[in-house]
Structure formats: structure tokens, C-alpha cells
Amino acid sequence: MTASLSRRRFLTGAGVTALGLAVPGLLAGCGDDGGAGAGAGDGTGKVDFWIDIQGDANQKYFTDSVVGAFEKANPKIDLNATFYKGEDLRRLVQTALQARSGPDVVRGPSATQTLAWSKAHVLADLTPYAEKYQWSDKLSAWAIKAFSTDGKLYALPMRVDTMLLYFNKTLFESKGWTQPTNRSELEAFAAESAGQGITPFGSSNVDWKAAGEWLMTVFWNHYSGPDALYDALTGKIKFTDPVFVDAVALVKSYFDKGWLAGGVDKYFAVPSQEIGANFGKGTVATIPQGGWFMSQVGQYFGEKAKNDNAWDWMPIPALRPEVKYPLFEMGIGGSLAINEASKNKDAAAAYLNWYYGDKAAALKRMADVPSTYNIPVDFTDAEIPQSIDPRSARVLTSLNKAVETGDYGYVTWTWWPPKTDVFVYEGLEQVLTNKITPAEYCKQLDEKFTAEKAEGTIPQLLERGPAR
């Protein structure tokens, strides 16, 4: 080891610690050498895994059905899972990776941010394991491609994401409302709902600041359309194109009318739990949310929530005649990778192979817990276990169909580069509070996107047309 390398490592570790001192809440660690080459062997011993699974029931399921099942199948490997909150986990993992420590299996953020981690050389190259275990035969090609750069695989996709319009089914039936499929029907429903004192679309960024990008994902996909998005993401057109600016203006107009969240001020102030409770009670008619919300929405309905209402979901209506209906934006919520500094890469890879390799077990997990375990593996509708909630099953079959027909779009947290992705929701706040116009927002977005695209921090895009 050279003196300069040693100093750099010292400064690196100390620098992370310094940030931790300067900014409350930041944690840091001092660097150590670590590091063991990827040998694509079989692996034994202890594998540390930090994961953001919340709630006693969910953690118990993970402990029993994932950790327990894996250890039973691989008695020589001890999978040591530690649970954290989502935002805490990202920060902790990031600082640990920089300090050349942390878990063996890395639960990473979105594809776009995991790519930033990969470019910093803190994630192991999974290509030898992908070849050894033939992961390309087990996982959907489009999802594998999103996590490959310069011919190397740096992570595996954790969960398939899409956006849905959850609705209070009982409320819709009692009001005689039908499911809107286009903009005019949607706006007619929204006007009538708001007129009766019912918030048409519940939304809040109080507990998750990035919630704004869920809205932009919906409006860009269902107003601007996936073809325009593909062209923008591949650099053929600019984000300053009116088709994107108008989508932002449309979001703002829905807020200004009080349709979205009951207005901008409430969007910034009403906690999501309260919105969920109002959704269950029927004072909020619908919630545009990700597929992951399916594992939480049930708590707002039925006996526990002290109401007799039921929920369901519908595809997001097309907001322009040129955009197809139904259309499902596709993306990946998080990643699983291997720490470059791990001393037990082979065992970590063995876990990943077990997790992704057994399709029947994966489908059972998807059936047992809505959305959480929706990994991108190829399966037919007939293979989905009968025990699944029909609403969850419909998400799986709808996404299957979207992939087969090409009627899919793009979620911002997977296909936008990291800084641009942050601006999507940070900038939207400025639009909603009239600090900047939709046109200025798109101009700034385009500038950030162009700069990051030039740096190469953008995942390989899911191309138009059938993806299977």
C-alpha cells in the first residue's frame, strides 16, 4: 500500500465522520481496507443484510419466510438481517459503503442512484455471478439491463414499481361514480367530488418529500405520454417541449382547483396517515400512489379502521387522446447489490441467487405480501398462486400485459439521473408555491438532465415496444 493511498483512505473515512459532526443526523465511519475479490464461489459464513422492512408482521414474515427459508436451504450461511427505516437505511448504507464497511448485501436506492454508487466503485461487479447463476435467464431482461453499465451488472432489481389510482370502492358505488378512463371523465368526477366536499385525489409530501415525483410520473406519463418521455430521455427532444410544460401546468391547475390534496397548503401539511384515514372514511375519494401502497392501504379500511368501506384500484386515466389507456409506468423500486468491501461476496451472491432463482418461491412471496416482494421475474398469469388477493393479482397480470404489448411508461425514480430526479420533486414545490413557472421548471430540469446525461449517470432505458 502506498503512502498516498493510505492518506486518501484516511481522509475519506475521516471526511465522512466530519460530515456527521457538521450535520446533525449524519453518521460516518472510518475506513478500513476490507475487500475480497469476487470469486463466484459457493460461499459460507455470515452475511450481513440491512433491509428497510417496517412493522412487526412484515419483519416476522421476512425473518421466517426469507431468512429462515434461505438458511434452511443453505445451512452453511448465516444470513444476519437488520431492519431500518427507509430513509435512515439509505444514509447509513451510503456512509458505510464510503468507509469500506457496512452490510455484505446492499439494499440500494433506485436504479438511478444505485448507478451513482456503482460509479463510485463501492459495489461489487456482479457479472461473474450473473454468468455462474445465469441470472439473465431468471430475471426480466429489461430490469437487468437497467442495472447494467459498461457491460457490467452492478445490482439486481428489487421491486417492480408502477403507479395506480386507488379508490374508495364503497364511496364510488354509493355515489354512482364509474371509473374514469380519460381526462374529461376524470375532471367531471373531480368536479363533482369536490363539489360535495370530498377531496378527489388525496396526496401529501409531509412524510416523504419525494412524493412530488409520483405526481410528475403520473402526469408526464399519462399526459405527455411514454413516447415523448422516451424521446426526452434519449435526448431526441428537450424537457422544455410544451408537451412536458403543459403536464406540469396541469398538475398545478389540479392543485389550484383543490382537486389534488385539497390544495397546495394541505399537500405540504397534512400527514399521509391522516389522508389514508380520510380515504378509508370516504372524505378522500382516490389516492394516486405506487404499487407499494397496496401493502398499507388495507389498514384504512374495515373493522380495524372502524368503517365498512372497501378499496380497489384502477389504472390512471389517459389525460390526452394521444396516450393509450390503460398504460402502466414501469420502474424499479430499489436494488440489491454486493458490497465491494464485503469479505463474503460468494455467500452474499448465493443469497441473491436463492432469492431470485426460485420462481415458485418468489411468486408465493408475491401472493403472501402485496407488492413488497414483486421482483421482476418472467411468469405467466397462470403461474400466480390462487391464494393471492385478486387486487394484487390484477396488478401482476396488468404489468405482464403491459410488458407484452409495450403499453408501459417510465417512472422518474428509475430512469431519470439522480440530481435531475431530486429536482423533479424539489422543483415541483417551487412551481406549486409560484416561485417559478412550469416553463422555468422544465428549463431547469432540462439543464440538469443534459449535464447528467453527458456524465453518463443514466440507466439503460427500457425501449419502446414489447419488452418480452
Binding site: A22, V23, P24, V122, F268, V270, E274
Partner: protein, 300 residues
């Protein structure tokens, strides 16, 4: 040579030895703390200085860019806005809890029964964890289910850019003033009662007694708390981060929350280090001024 001089000459080597031994023992006691501080303060501080001159994402290698982060900070409207918010925060955090704390301490000093109960009540908000306080107040300030809503006033305190910073500051002041009241009250107990008696004999009113006897009597405590308030203003983070995350649209952003965003959301850890170091310099200047004033006898 007198007897005294002879004794002094004979004991001089012994006294020097004793002084050296005392110094060694002192340093031995200090050593663990010094080593710890060198590890967790000095090392990272040096690294922060280094990283503030680099383009560093927080991961991987850093590229030296000279003063670019500092020049960027000078021209960054986000930094200007955050500094302005720090200024507003400082004025409110210094004046409101101080005034309430002094008033509360004075009222406490007049109470003869249940004084301990009142002191405990004043202190409770301070001992509750900031995360809990912030989460509770977030709900209490909700425009659709909070206190205002119950009173028929649906203003979105945290959601309105005009009131978000003030609302968080209100909560911080609420948790802080009781602590100050108890500290001031303790300081007031040290003021000589005879001074009040003398003031009364001279015909001083309650306000005049407070101004001419109490305030000068607690000045060292007050000056120290002012200093701490200044430092805590620059460190303001937890309540803002939990209650508004610096939003909406940066309306409650302060430098520390901006640093966090830059380091962890924007992958601009080098820039965040420059911001942190700049704030450290500001704090150091304030501390230097305080020390200077102390030496000039400001506290006395």
C-alpha cells in the same frame, strides 16, 4: 541569609518536582479525552477542510477544485435564503424564549407553594425528545385535524411558505423557554435578598427592582445563554428536518438542512463540507467576540 530564604532555597527542587508531578497527573487525566477528540474531531475537521476544496459526491474519489465550492456558495440563492432564515431564526430564538424565560423565572420566584411542580412543568417540553415533540406538533398543526381546525381556523401553518419557518420556530421556542426559565430562576436565587430590601426602601417598583437588581445579578448566566443560543441557532436542524424538511419550496430551509440535502440528496458532499466549514468559521468568530467581551469584563 535569613531562615526563610534558606528554607525556600532548600525546598525549591522539591516544589518544582511536585509541580511537574501535578502537571503530569493533570495531563494523564486529560489524555483520554484529548485522544478521543483528536480521533473524532481533529481528524474529521482536517478532512472537512480538504473536502471543502474538492468536487466530491460523498462516495469514491474527490477531485481538487480549489475555492470553487466557496465561490459557488457566495452566489447560491439557496444559501442566501437559508442564511436569511438562520437570521430570522436567531432573532426569534434569542428574543422570545429569553423574554418568556425571564418572565417565567420571575413569576416562579414569586410563587411560594407548588414551586417544584411548576418548575417540573416548565421543564417537561425540554426533556421530551425532539423527534417526539416535532411529530406531535406536526399533527397539532394539521389544517384538517389540528388545534386550529378544532377552533374553526384551518390555516396550514406548516404548508404555507409564509408561516412554515415561524411555525417550526414557535415549536422550538415552546420546548426551550421553560428550560431557560428554570436556569434563570436558579440564577435569581443567587441574588442577594438584601439588595431587593434596599431597593424597596429606596421606593423601587417591581419593574425597577427587576431591571436594577435581578438583571445585573444574573448577567453571567444570561450572557452564557445568549452565547449558547447563538450557537444553537447555527445548529438548528432537527425540528426543521422533521416538521417541514426545509419546505415548502425552501421556505423553512436553514444552512444545516441545506447541507444535509446537498450531501445526501444531491451527492454534493464537497459543497456541503464548504457550507459546514463556513458556518464553523461564523461560530468561531462569535466565540472569539464572546471571549473578548468576557476579558473586557462584560459579564461582571
Amino acid at each position: 541569609m535569613s531562615d526563610t530564604a534558606v528554607r525556600a532555597a532548600r525546598s525549591a527542587p522539591g516544589a518544582a518536582r511536585a509541580r511537574r508531578r501535578a502537571a503530569v497527573i493533570g495531563w494523564a487525566f486529560l489524555a483520554p479525552l484529548l485522544v478521543l477528540n483528536a480521533l473524532v474531531v481533529l481528524g474529521p475537521s482536517i478532512a472537512t477542510v480538504y473536502y471543502s476544496f474538492t468536487d466530491w459526491s460523498g462516495l469514491g474519489p474527490a477531485t481538487f477544485i480549489g475555492l470553487a465550492n466557496y465561490t459557488k456558495a457566495f452566489g447560491d440563492p439557496q444559501v442566501h435564503e437559508a442564511l436569511l432564515h438562520n437570521g430570522i431564526w436567531f432573532v426569534l430564538f434569542l428574543s422570545v424564549p429569553m423574554a418568556l424565560g425571564l418572565l417565567g423565572a420571575h413569576v416562579l420566584s414569586q410563587v411560594r407553594r407548588f414551586q417544584v411542580v411548576f418548575r417540573a412543568l416548565y421543564f417537561i417540553p425540554y426533556v421530551v425528545a425532539s423527534v417526539v415533540n416535532a411529530a406531535v406538533w406536526k399533527m397539532l398543526l394539521s389544517p384538517t385535524s389540528g388545534i386550529g381546525h378544532a377552533l374553526g381556523f384551518d390555516h396550514s401553518w406548516l404548508g404555507d411558505p409564509a408561516t412554515s419557518l415561524l411555525s417550526v420556530n414557535f415549536v422550538v421556542n415552546w420546548h426551550w423557554w421553560g428550560f431557560l426559565a428554570v436556569i434563570f430562576f436558579a440564577a435569581m436565587q443567587g441574588v442577594d435578598p438584601q439588595l431587593y430590601d434596599a431597593a424597596k426602601v429606596d421606593g423601587a417598583s417591581t419593574w425597577q427592582q427587576f431591571k436594577a437588581v435581578t438583571l445585573p445579578g444574573i448577567r453571567p448566566t444570561a450572557v452564557f445563554l445568549v452565547l449558547m443560543t447563538v450557537i444553537w441557532t447555527l445548529k438548528a436542524f432537527d425540528y426543521i428536518f422533521i416538521m417541514t424538511g426545509g419546505g415548502p419550496a425552501g421556505s423553512s430551509e436553514v444552512v444545516s438542512t441545506l447541507m444535509y440535502k446537498q450531501a445526501f440528496n444531491e451527492y454534493e458532499a464537497g459543497y456541503a463540507a464548504a457550507l459546514g466549514l463556513s458556518m464553523t468559521v461564523v461560530t468561531a468568530v462569535i466565540l472569539a467576540v464572546y471571549q473578548y467581551l468576557r476579558k473586557k469584563g462584560w459579564e461582571d
